[in-house]
Amino acid sequence: MTAAERDRVDSAATPADETYARDGDDGDGDGGERDGDGDQRDEGGRDDADEIDTGHDDHPTDRRALRPFDTGRWVGVTGVALTLVGLGVALRQPGMVLVGAAAVGYGLYARLGEAGEAVLEIDREVSDPTPDPGDEVSVTVRARNVGDAPCLDLRIVDGVPPGLEVVDGPARVATALRPGASVTFSYAVRASRGDHEWGTTRAVVRNAAGSRERLTELETPTRLTCTPELAAGGDLPLRGLTTVSHGRVPTDVGGSGVEFHATREYRRGDPLKRVDWNRRARTGELATLELREERAATVVLLVDAREAAYVADRPDGDTAVEASVEAAGAVFTALLAGGDRVGIATMGPRDCWLPPGAGNDHAVRGRETLATDPALAPTPSEDRFYRTLWRRRFRRRLPGDAQVLFFTPLVDDVPVDTARRLDAYGHLVTVLSPDTTATRSSRLSSRLPSRSTSTPGRKLAAIERRERIRTLRGAGIRVVEWGDRSFPAAVAGANGRWSR
């Protein structure tokens, strides 16, 4: 809202409770808009429908009306009218005088009435308040004119959450409503990961001639929570930094395990099955086999959720944050199943920190965090990101023996810097990077020739990104990137490269 609009906000906006109290006496039978398609909504069935529908939020509608303003329509019509009358008199043509006089009527019509506040009560029903990602959810909005004045020209634009995509029909309607009448319109959204809340519904009212216009903002909170199942992910090899607990990560510490590490002199008390009997037979000396100890690691999954990270390879593609969250979910499940302690953090304007933990409760918490935390919302936050403050806070929270798996599209230098710093502080860092600069190969590119495949900008971004990866690898930080390939495939490929 601009300053000018804020100025227009009417201080005497009607409180919502007042209209809600009036709700009871709508027994008049004239409700229900008959539009051209012939579908008619009946007032009578309303209460029953409310009982059955689970997605219905029974909240009062909060209203805020801005001041009406001139639209500039019909400007000059009286001038034209007077000119015609004058010309008609001068030319002695009664027809012209009559037309001019009739036009005065339009001048009067334009001044007739004021654009009133849209005294509407909005009901929004969602067919499924907890859908799976990708499901189509149908949303039915019902607006009822609970005021005393008819709205001759009413346009309603529903405040669809930014993270949801409208797939069927615009979330808008234009109609005219008598007092007590209602209009119902519905549209379908495709559910995406996250916790979505409907924002401000905007209702624009004009007077009969359309010369005055007034905007009313209506708030009817409706929620839609979409929590994806975490995919069981690829088995990501961790680096050597571990805790003292037993686990899965092979270390350079000799002890009990399965993989050969070294031999050393026999000490009294060593278990007999680890004595190197071949050597005893060959040389007569007792020696003990050292095996690699396998230990558990503490891992923090760090997701880059700055505004810069909200990039996609196509205008309608999933953003890098979405890809990161999906991959983080897979890694989270895999690591937790392997007995490691896993935490979640984001690098972004909003704070999100799930301390490393293990167990079923923690798995559920992790799933919730990845799915619905506002810091990982499908659309970027409007807050500012302060890098230094964030770094200080993150380092303070990070356990000393924690590794960091850093999910970032690497579209600027900030994540490179961050990864190198964290690595220098002793937290071994592995960067996992969804590639948003990848050109679509095969099927898609042949269908959409040259549109999104290789523009100079994309090429430049790809080169810069490759340079960043080179810098990271030069600093001894492991990098896995995946674009076209699936994340598990990329991890499997990297696994082979990193094997000792």
Binding site: M1, E5, D35, G36, D37, R73, L84, L87, G88, Q93, G95, M96, L98, V99, A101, A102, A103, V104, G105, L108, Y109, L112, L152, D153, R155, V157, G159, P161, P162, L164, E165, V166, G169, P170, A171, R172, V173, A174, T175, A176, G199, A208, A209, G210, E307, Y310, A312, D313, R314, P315, D316, T319, P378, T379, P380, S381, E382, V411, G457, A461
Partner: protein, 196 residues
């Protein structure tokens, strides 16, 4: 590679919701416009053109030259609706007014001129209304009732206005000075409140 910014999600007041229409949250603004059909509703365009045709026919009856000029306004109104340009619509209305003035100057009859005037006003008004509805709501949304009510009120206002004016004219021409005086007084009151 496409950047998705938070800025874009703050929709303007009347012109769009919070950027969530179609793939508005992901693509650039152009993508949203591509998805949402912001052309004026069909009913508005059709009724505007019908009204403009009525105006043309009525003006042709009054005077062929003026009628031809009014006919040019049909083209302008159709073009304005097609291009989504209020300016072109205004040019159309101006051409129509010019045509009617021309027809009147050549001595066209009062009745067809009044019909042409009202029809022209309805044509321009419905086309302009259609533009704003198209911009705010789009063609795919349900708009019929809104457009019909608006066209109806404009037509009603024009009919009443023309009726009063024509009644005054007939009564004054019929030599009934008292009734004419009353109607003139009424007209004076209307004028006074219009220019207040």
């Amino acid at each position: 590679m496409v950047a998705v910014s938070a800025e874009r999600n703050r929709g303007s007041v009347t012109d769009g919701d919070r950027g969530a229409e179609a793939d508005g949250s992901r693509g650039p603004e152009a993508a949203e416009e591509r998805e949402r059909d912001a052309r004026p509703p069909t009913l508005a365009v059709v009724s505007s053109l019908v009204a403009a045709t009525v105006a043309t026919v009525a003006a042709l009856v009054a005077d062929p030259t003026g009628g031809a000029v009014v006919g040019a306004s049909v083209v302008c109104l159709a073009g304005g609706s097609l291009l989504g340009s209020a300016r072109v619509l205004s040019w159309g209305a101006a051409a129509g007014i010019g045509g009617i003035a021309l027809a009147a100057a050549f001595g066209g009859g009062a009745e067809p001129l009044l019909v042409a005037g009202v029809a022209l006003a309805v044509a321009w008004d419905v086309a302009d209304h259609g533009l704003s509805v198209g911009r705010q709501v789009g063609r795919k949304a349900r708009t019929r009732r809104n457009v019909a009510v608006h066209a109806g009120t404009t037509l009603l206002a024009g009919t009443i206005s023309a009726g009063v004016v024509y009644g005054t004219y007939v009564v004054a021409a019929g030599g009934q000075p008292i009734a004419a005086l009353a109607l003139l007084c009424f007209g004076g009151v209307v004028l006074a409140s219009a220019f207040r």
